[in-house]
């Protein structure tokens, strides 16, 4: 229905108007209009999300799945409605394939600790890529150490693109799972996830995709990707912190043991035996972030109403514009120049540490991330301790990038 409507009346995408929906962006910082270029770390929230959460607390809040009273019913319906919203957003087959977690990190840990511990043994292998965020390295590393298994890493080239042939070669008869990022947080490189899934599945290897940086920028269809697990965080999708999702194919989730035990995830408990609920509830021990799920649901409504395709085209244009403008700055080196790239402009300025760049830009009202972006192996690959990273979202404009370029010239002035 939505697709049909979009075809009938293509809405014009205007980031200047989108920007007006985000109250936090209407302020000055150090006397300058705020230029927010750190959405890859966490995105800002539109008024619609703030209103949905505030309304829920003010009108419908209660714990879910227990009370027989009206408020509990409303809260339960809103929470399960959010699950259905995520299902539709990812085009999953069933709502029970969506597990609410705290965020991408928790989703990956859940799979490593449940699926991983069951299936990975001594001498087995877990395959990741060289562009993973620490949250898609450490859980697997810990598992491999515990199980005396091997963590294999598919390499990237000098532009920050995965070397697909090498990835394929590393899929071995001992590989028990491949865990890979959809979009690199430090470089913006987009991985050909569909193809990688096909390669892995041809050898019977399940695939987890870290989608934290992908969902804010492109349509994700887990059924067309055919991945086995897909993880993302609400806060990078213009929703609140504390909520995220793990998608898992029902058959896999059903076969997996619960990760955490407690209330909400049980059918019956005695001191002799506990019977767990069905999926997804057996993975949701304790009271979840109910209002977080409501906020996430509102964020998905907001984003899908914007027309993601038009927004994506606008962002691609903005990214190309930014890359050109930055390249014209003397001594600036872009880190990560993949053919297929989303959202991220990572760079270093010759002779000036990223931390100093960040402080000076901040004085100009410009928020960028400086550091290793929780991807130290990526930094090591490019031989830098850290980079400056400007990342784009639906509310960023050419004006923001012009301000960044002016700010970087200011940095040069301070240092020269």
């Amino acid at each position: 229905m939505r697709a049909a409507r979009d075809r009938a009346l293509p809405p014009r995408f205007d980031p200047e108007r989108v920007r007006m929906d985000f109250p936090i962006l209407q302020q000055k910082v150090h006397g300058k209009p705020l230029v927010f270029l750190d959405s890859a770390a966490s995105a800002q929230k539109p008024q619609a999300v703030l209103d949905a959460m505030s309304h829920f607390y003010a009108s419908d809040y209660a714990n879910i799945h227990r009370g027989v009273y009206e408020l509990s019913l409303r809260a339960t319906q809103a929470f399960e409605g959010a699950r259905e919203k995520v299902r539709d957003f990812l085009n999953a087959a069933e709502a029970r394939e969506i597990v609410f977690v705290r965020g991408t990190t928790e989703a990956i840990n859940l799979v490593a600790q449940s699926f991983g511990r069951e299936h990975v043994g001594p001498g087995d292998e877990v395959l990741i890529t060289a562009m993973e965020h620490h949250s898609n390295i450490v859980p697997w590393q810990t598992l491999c150490q515990e199980k005396r298994a091997l963590l294999r890493v598919a390499p990237i080239d000098d532009r920050g693109q995965l070397i697909l042939d090498e990835f394929e070669k590393l899929l071995s008869p001992r590989t028990r799972i491949a865990a890979l990022t959809h979009v690199s947080n430090a470089l913006g490189s987009v991985n050909p996830v569909g193809e990688m899934v096909r390669m892995a599945h041809a050898r019977g290897i399940p695939v987890l995709v870290d989608g934290a940086q992908a969902v804010p920028h492109r349509h994700v269809d887990v059924r067309s990707l055919d991945c086995d697990f897909y993880a993302f965080s609400g806060h990078k999708l213009f929703g609140p912190t504390g909520i995220g999702c793990l998608y898992g194919k029902a058959a896999l989730l059903e076969a997996m043991a619960p990760w955490q035990g407690g209330g909400e995830m049980i059918l019956s408990v005695s001191f002799e035996k506990t019977v767990f609920k069905e999926i997804p509830h057996k993975f949701e021990a304790g009271t979840p972030d109910i209002t977080g799920a409501i906020g996430l649901s509102a964020a998905i409504d907001y984003l899908t109403a914007l027309d993601l395709d038009a927004a994506g085209a606008c962002e691609a244009e903005l990214l190309a514009y930014g890359a050109d403008e930055l390249a014209a700055i003397p001594g600036l080196r872009l880190i990560g120049t993949a053919e297929d790239k989303a959202s991220v402009l990572s760079f270093v300025l010759e002779g000036i540490h990223p931390h100093d760049v960040g402080t000076i830009l901040d004085q100009e009202g410009i928020a960028v991330r400086t550091g290793h972006h929780c991807a130290q192996p990526v930094m090591a690959h490019f031989g830098v301790p850290a980079t400056v990273r400007a990342s784009l979202a639906v509310y960023n404009t050419r004006g923001d990038l012009d301000a960044l370029v002016r700010g970087l010239r200011r940095v040069r002035e301070v240092f020269d």
Binding site: I352, H353, H355, T359, Q363, T370, G371, P385, V414, F415
Partner: protein, 150 residues
């Protein structure tokens, strides 16, 4: 802008560009490593301590302008000083960079280190200035573990 000039004073920029006492110290009898996981700054401090006196000091590593200049100026300020005086300078320096920006600068006894008074306007950068000092103290006290800012 005035805050920025306070932070990036010409002395700091100069020591960043050409750090003094940079590199491993021959004859060092103590050393320690420091690490700031936030920005990836790494520093090693080498000391030659004799009869309670810091006879030689140097540093190596990589970091931002503030941390490099802090290391360079630290080596100059503690060289030839007795250990207890080094500790006193350290305390004075720490007070300087963490003081309430509304209060007057108290840089007594700190000499050239007073150029770091602008750091107190930038709470996120205090660790850049103090990492090398913590590392130096660890070397002085012969603590074996690497120092971090966390």
């Amino acid at each position: 802008m005035s805050d920025l000039r306070e932070l990036y004073q010409s002395v700091i920029l100069d020591h960043n560009r050409t750090p003094r006492n940079f590199g491993e110290l021959e004859g060092a009898n103590r050393s320690a490593q420091g690490y700031n996981p936030l920005c990836g700054d790494q520093v090693t401090v080498y000391l030659a301590v004799e009869d309670g006196l810091v006879k030689g000091v140097s540093f190596s590593g990589s970091g931002c302008a503030i941390s490099t200049a802090a290391a360079s100026l630290m080596t100059q300020s503690i060289k030839g000083k007795p250990e207890d005086e080094v500790q006193r300078i350290f305390e004075g320096f720490r007070r300087l960079v963490t003081a309430n920006p509304r209060h007057e600068v108290d840089a007594e006894g700190l000499g050239k280190l007073a150029v770091f008074s602008g750091v107190r306007e930038f709470p996120m950068r205090v660790k850049c200035a103090t990492l090398v000092w913590h590392t130096m103290r660890a070397a002085l006290e012969r603590a074996g573990e690497p120092v971090t800012t966390e």
